[in-house]
Amino acid sequence: MRDTFVASATGFLADPRTTIVLADISADAFTEAGRRYPDRVVNVGIREQLMIGVAGGLALTGQRPIVHSYAPFLVERAYEQIKLDLDHQGVGAVLVSIGASYDRAEAGRTHLAPADVALIDTLDGWTVHVPGHPDEVPDLLHDAVCGLHSTYLRLSLRGNARAYPKAGGLQVVRDAGAGAALLVAVGPVLDAALAAVAGLPVTVAYTHRPRPFDVTGLRALAGGEVVVVEPYLAGTSTRVVAEALADRPHRLLSLGVGRAELRRYGTAGDHDRWHGLDPAGLRRAVGRFLTRAG
């Protein structure tokens, strides 16, 4: 996904408004673009507060900043700059992260960012894209860069076997018929979710845009049982789903990355298993949830 992002972002530099802001991460990948557009590929060094402040200043002059770094450094380290240098100034930027919840699990806690989407979700009016396949990235970046508002694009090494372009709204990928429970999979967890519910009466819908969440689609598809599977902090979308279905009796199961710090390395696959996000773990959780419905 990062390669796709670098190629797409470099292409957007043809628009004189586009400015890429980096803090050393991925700077090598933009070296050539920087030679061609020295004033619009800005690497501030390992300075994340400045990275977001610079984005805010650029936006104040009418530039469209694409700000890119590793997820915890982009979103968590300079959260007040995101809140004040972008939102409070009334300007927007496109934030693009890599690393996701635990792409580099062996690096340990400092490089894990399961709470990034929840943190962005404390802000007002942000769009959040969580693509599940590299081929979904160019369109999402295009929509983000051509808009005026702030967007968070969360890239990952993980993903699904096939791309689902234009899946901002909920897209049904497995229809179990009327009355079936609804499982919403966000981004890279779709394949594991599909494998998990094989043989179960569960409709599966996919989205790579958890914010704004497709509330209309949710209300059209949801019956009495809803499962949300997200590749970041479990429960991040509980609020929006509960609000969307507040006028009807329903049960909701929110699955995702756990809150506890595991203090374990291993691989991303290991962390999937430990957080119950592998097919077997998801099947256990969904099975228990559906059984309790009876």
Binding site: L50, V54, G56, G57, L58, T61, Q63, Q81
Partner: protein
Amino acid sequence: MTAPTATHPPGHTLPAPVVAPLERLRAGRHYDANVYSTVDVHWVLYDRVLRVTPATVDDPDRDRFLLSKGHAVAGYYAVLAAKGFIPVDWLDDAGGPDSRLGGHPDRTLVPGVEIGSGSLGHGLGLGVGTALGLRAQGRTTPRVYVLLGDAELDEGSNHEAIAYAGATGLAGLTAIVLDNASASHGWPGGVASRFTVNGWTAATVDGHDHDALSAALTGHDGHRPHVAVAVDGPTPGSGK
């Protein structure tokens, strides 16, 4: 020099056009000395230095003034009123439920205000980005001024901006540090040295001497970022 006026700052007099709006804003309350420490800087900027008027607040080629120490609003609002950026009667209900003038400024509410500030350490980064944006657009005329305090320099974010702007020779940027010796642990060797070691030019002057301030604020060499340190109190090395 500005004629002396009968008002309340200790140790120096205020620019005459600012006195009435500042008194209107004060509305009988007590102002601590620090409120008065930045009034001269605001006045000299808007009276002599900044190429911006109420008619050009949206002109892309205007100079930008970013108030980073957002609590220094009293003098700012008074000068904006004196120069016609905001109606003088806005001063009467500052901080009220329907007022556009808060204890920290909001750029979306006040004409001529370039940034919302209050939390310290945000203005210089925004100023670096603004200077970069203007440069990317080929606008060589406008200059970006950012007003900070010496205590505000405690915030590490400033040092990210100082190092980067100096290393890359960001020529369109001028920082102004109002030094009223309020940093808890001081700046041994002087505030200016934090900038000059990173390649900035610097001038340290009496923060209430309008001619000296004006010279310091326009003392950039066109190749590097510049800092004007405006000292409130005895100027280091001046013997005063």
